[in-house]
């Protein structure tokens, strides 16, 4: 459609279209594009907001690479993801398989398991601190039934990360519900055909169910990586804004927050933001790039080689 040949009516429609989407365009410019560029520029300065920024070149980046706490926060975040993401994915999948049954009260069960995904925030973080309390906490009481003397959880640097991973497991219901959506989108005739061919439950799971759930798996993996760099509320509450004993609970976002909003070191924090954002983006791209190797989309079931969803397979 070239400009000259557009009818007045079409031109009017176009003008209205732009008018209606203009709030988002403005938002994109003000709250996404401008900050993206600005973060990059600020990362080369020394700036406390109040005094004029000083250009320092790559100094912030050099400092980052000698900052033990920076590497500590990176280690905490990545280690947490390494355990929490696979466990919550596997847990969610198993729970979804259980919840896919056609039994009475199944909706009630689904509702219950989803509660932890909605009810979050400061109050829940406090509740966890209480439950993981080394002396009077519910968990250690529970362990004492089995004659186990529970660890000191949040007071012990060795146990802080496992505690976070355990807490993340409480939310598997969120993943389960998404897997459940995927499960129920699997056409019944595939199962019937497989049964006709004499496949057992185990084979059906590995050859049909799991491959057809890979889009959900892919999506959750992607979001899991991005989200682990955003963990803040719980980390802040549990460690009272600090890093906990031996900084074992210093999540990336928490350290970034301290640098930006406690020390007002905007340049340093911006460099951190770029590196953190870059790492999660690179991980996300790796997952995205490899998806053609392990993710099945519905269209692939019927005909091979469709290039829907930007799939670049030949």
């Amino acid at each position: 459609m070239s400009r000259q040949r557009m009818s007045p009516l079409a031109r009017n429609e176009e003008r209205l279209g732009y008018l209606f989407i203009s709030p988002w365009i403005l938002g994109l410019l003000i709250f996404t594009l401008f900050p993206l560029v600005a973060t990059f520029l600020i990362s080369f300065t020394d700036w406390d907001i109040y005094n004029p920024p000083k250009w320092v070149g790559l100094k912030n980046y050099f400092n980052l690479f000698t900052d033990k706490l920076f590497f500590q926060s990176l280690k905490v975040t990545l280690l947490y993801s390494l355990f929490s993401i696979p466990l919550t994915l596997a847990g969610g999948l198993i729970l979804a398989l259980l919840l896919n049954a056609n039994i009475r009260f199944i909706h009630l069960f689904r509702t219950i398991f989803y509660i932890p995904s909605v009810i979050t925030g400061v109050a829940v973080a406090m509740l966890w601190i209480w439950i993981f309390n080394a002396h009077y906490g519910l968990l250690n009481y529970f362990l004492s039934w089995f004659g186990i003397e529970g660890p000191k959880w949040l007071e012990d640097p060795k146990w802080i990360l496992p505690t976070y991973v355990l807490i993340s497991l409480w939310k598997v219901g969120g993943n389960a519900v998404l897997f459940l959506g995927g499960l129920q989108n699997i056409p019944q005739h595939l199962y019937e055909a497989a049964r006709m061919d004499g496949a057992n439950r185990w084979q059906i799971f590995w050859k049909i169910t799991l491959p057809l759930l890979t889009p959900t798996l892919f999506f959750l993996l992607l979001m899991g990586i991005i989200d682990s760099f955003k963990i803040f509320t719980t980390a802040y509450m549990i460690n009272d804004g600090g890093g906990g004993p031996d900084n074992a609970g210093l999540f990336y976002m928490l350290y970034l927050y301290q640098k930006a909003f406690v020390s007002l070191d905007m340049g340093y924090a911006s460099a951190m933001a770029w590196i953190g954002g870059g790492i999660s983006l690179i991980l996300a791209i790796v997952v995205y790039r490899t998806q053609s190797k392990w993710v099945y989309y519905e269209a692939d079931v019927g005909k091979k080689g469709s290039d829907q969803h930007g799939d670049t397979r030949a």
């Binding site: 209205l16 732009y18 993206l36 907001i49 689904r110 509702t111 109050a123 509740l127 519910l138 959506g181």
Partner: protein
């Protein structure tokens, strides 16, 4: 924060599948046992929260603990809620909620309408860009946004927490557009022939049909704002402007190890979320059922 939105959307579109009669086999019995055990694990923290909130100080630190306190100390709630001005925090939170939800309603409806009903050059590309921006990690944009708001003199006001809502949220716009596309174009055409303009068509004919989508946006926005901790932490310093989230976190420092008070306050703060979730369950089922959300 985008994930729960999708989870819930996926959850509510599960129709109960009926395949013959339900038989109580050994397999099902096993299933009930496992699901019940898991449900107890899932809910026990909440039970523990309420139980602690009704204990006196001494029995909080009793070991082995009491599951249900001997006598209920209801005064914990009075104490916890009057020592700090929780009513003030609640008022602040709901004020922010109101303006954010209003903003999301307006901006997402308008933008989704533009994407769904008008042809313009670059529409598909812009839409793709919009979806892609969801993947940009928050921390990369956080610092300049803060600087921008502080240079505008907006720090310690509700503006940094509410104004961005008036520029739309990619996921909600996507959701709304799906809804627009499920409404037949004939409705617009008929109204256009009757001489209605684009705005009138939107507000008189289409918006009433969008109630299910607006309900979903309401619920998700409500929980998101309610749970937001970093935003108020960065922008609000005057205690009179604190939200419930910040108020509660400060409450911890004044009550250190008084777990009965802390749990009483937590229970009160979590209550509205439970109510919203309860109603969301009922209202969202029909509304989002026809929505296809794919990865």
């Amino acid at each position: 924060m985008g994930t729960p939105v999708r989870d819930m959307a996926a959850m509510v579109r599960q129709p109960a599948r009926r395949t013959g009669g339900r038989k109580l086999s050994l397999m099902n019995l096993f299933l009930y046992l496992v699901l019940s055990a898991l449900s107890i694990i899932c809910l026990i923290p909440f039970f523990w929260m309420v139980s602690t909130s009704l204990k006196d100080r001494a029995s909080t630190f009793q070991f082995p603990p009491q599951w249900i306190p001997d006598h209920f100390v209801w005064s914990n709630y009075v104490e916890a809620l009057t020592v700090v001005p929780f009513d003030r925090y609640a008022l602040n939170t709901f004020t922010i909620e109101f303006f954010v939800i209003l903003g999301q309603f307006l901006s997402c409806t308008l933008v989704a309408y533009g994407f769904a009903r008008f042809r313009f050059r670059g529409r598909e590309v812009l839409f793709m860009i919009m979806l892609a921006t969801q993947l940009i990690p928050e921390q990369v944009t956080m610092i300049p946004t803060f600087i921008l708001f502080s240079k505008l003199g907006w720090v310690d006001t509700f503006l940094p927490l509410t104004v961005p809502a008036y520029f739309g949220n990619p996921f909600y716009i996507f959701l709304m557009r799906q809804y627009f596309q499920s409404i037949p174009f004939d409705l617009d055409e008929a109204a256009k022939i009757d001489g209605a303009g684009a705005f009138r068509i939107l507000f008189q004919i289409l918006v009433p049909l969008l109630k299910p989508a607006l309900t979903i946006i309401f619920v998700f926005t409500f929980t998101e704002v309610y749970n937001d901790f970093m935003g108020p932490l960065i922008y609000l310093s005057d205690p009179d402007k604190y939200t419930l989230a910040i108020g509660l976190s400060n409450f911890v420092s004044s009550f250190q190890a008084e777990w009965n008070y802390l749990m009483a306050a937590s229970t009160v703060v979590l209550f509205p979320l439970l109510v919203i979730y309860y109603f969301a369950q009922k209202h969202l089922v029909g509304g989002i059922a026809n929505l296809g959300i794919k990865g």
